[in-house]
Amino acid sequence: MEEKELIEKAQSGNRQALSELIKNYEQTVYNFSFKICRNKERAENTMQETFLSMVKSLNQFSGNSKLSTWLYTVVSNHCLMLARSQKKYEYTPIEDDDALIDEKDVTDWSVSPERVAENNELKALLDDAISHLEPEYRVVFLLRDVEGLSTEETADIVKLSVPAVKSRLHRARAFLRNELNKSLKYGIS
């Protein structure tokens, strides 16, 4: 069944269509929530709240926008709200754009990204690095680079201009690379 048709059925109260919609997106929403929160419990909570808002506002949903974009927006907002309620000093502020790139600190990593799934040490490293990145930057990096949305879609979701998204992306990439470099330049078991 087409998504448009599923949404229409769900809007008219068809529970089965609603379950199917949820089933189609739960993996994306949960995974994306986790990638922002870096915590399974918070990711599950975010996913539940996201689908609850979807169910509650389904009738206002027009066929013109993409449901996935809408869901990414809700997850991003929820996680940013959670993050703002946390203490600021957990993040490493990005003040000096110029200091983000140090051409003298470039080393070969010899790491195979495919092995992440089975490597807990690497997972911990990735969680740690991204949790120091300010959430406003994190969201942009995840939407654009990890989820593979376009710069325009990303700008839409985070309500920023395209140049602002690009500038955040630049900083996020350089920042994360530096954080990982601290450990990966020595190699990982």
Binding site: S19, I22, K23, E26, Q27, Y30, N31, F34, K35, K40, A43, E44, M47, Q48, F51, L52, V55, K56, L100, I101, E103, V106, T107, D108, W109, V111, P113, E114, V116, A117, L122, K123, L126, I130, F141, L142, D145, V146, K166, L169, H170, R171, R173, A174, L176, R177, L180, N181, L184
Partner: protein
């Protein structure tokens, strides 16, 4: 107008700005030439690529329990 000779830092900044985008300006061509000759910038580029790949490969899955709890949550919170 003549360009100043680009530095490794310029190239690295460019990599962060325009990763994967195939731009075709005199500056971009200069950067491509630089990348072909400079190990350091190529290594930097590959570490930026790896950074993205690592976060792409690190995924979590919705198992049956998580799915069940989600459906119960929706059910319990949307009762008339």
């Amino acid at each position: 107008m003549e360009f100043h000779k680009i530095t490794c830092k310029d190239v690295m900044n460019h990599i962060c700005d325009n990763l994967g985008e195939d731009l075709d300006s005199p500056k971009c061509r200069e950067i491509k030439n630089h990348l072909e000759e400079c190990d350091c910038c190529r290594t930097y580029r590959s570490s930026i690529d790896s950074t993205i790949k690592l976060y792409k490969e690190y995924n979590v899955e919705v198992n049956d329990d998580i799915h069940k709890r989600l459906m119960e949550f929706i059910e319990n919170n949307t009762k008339p």
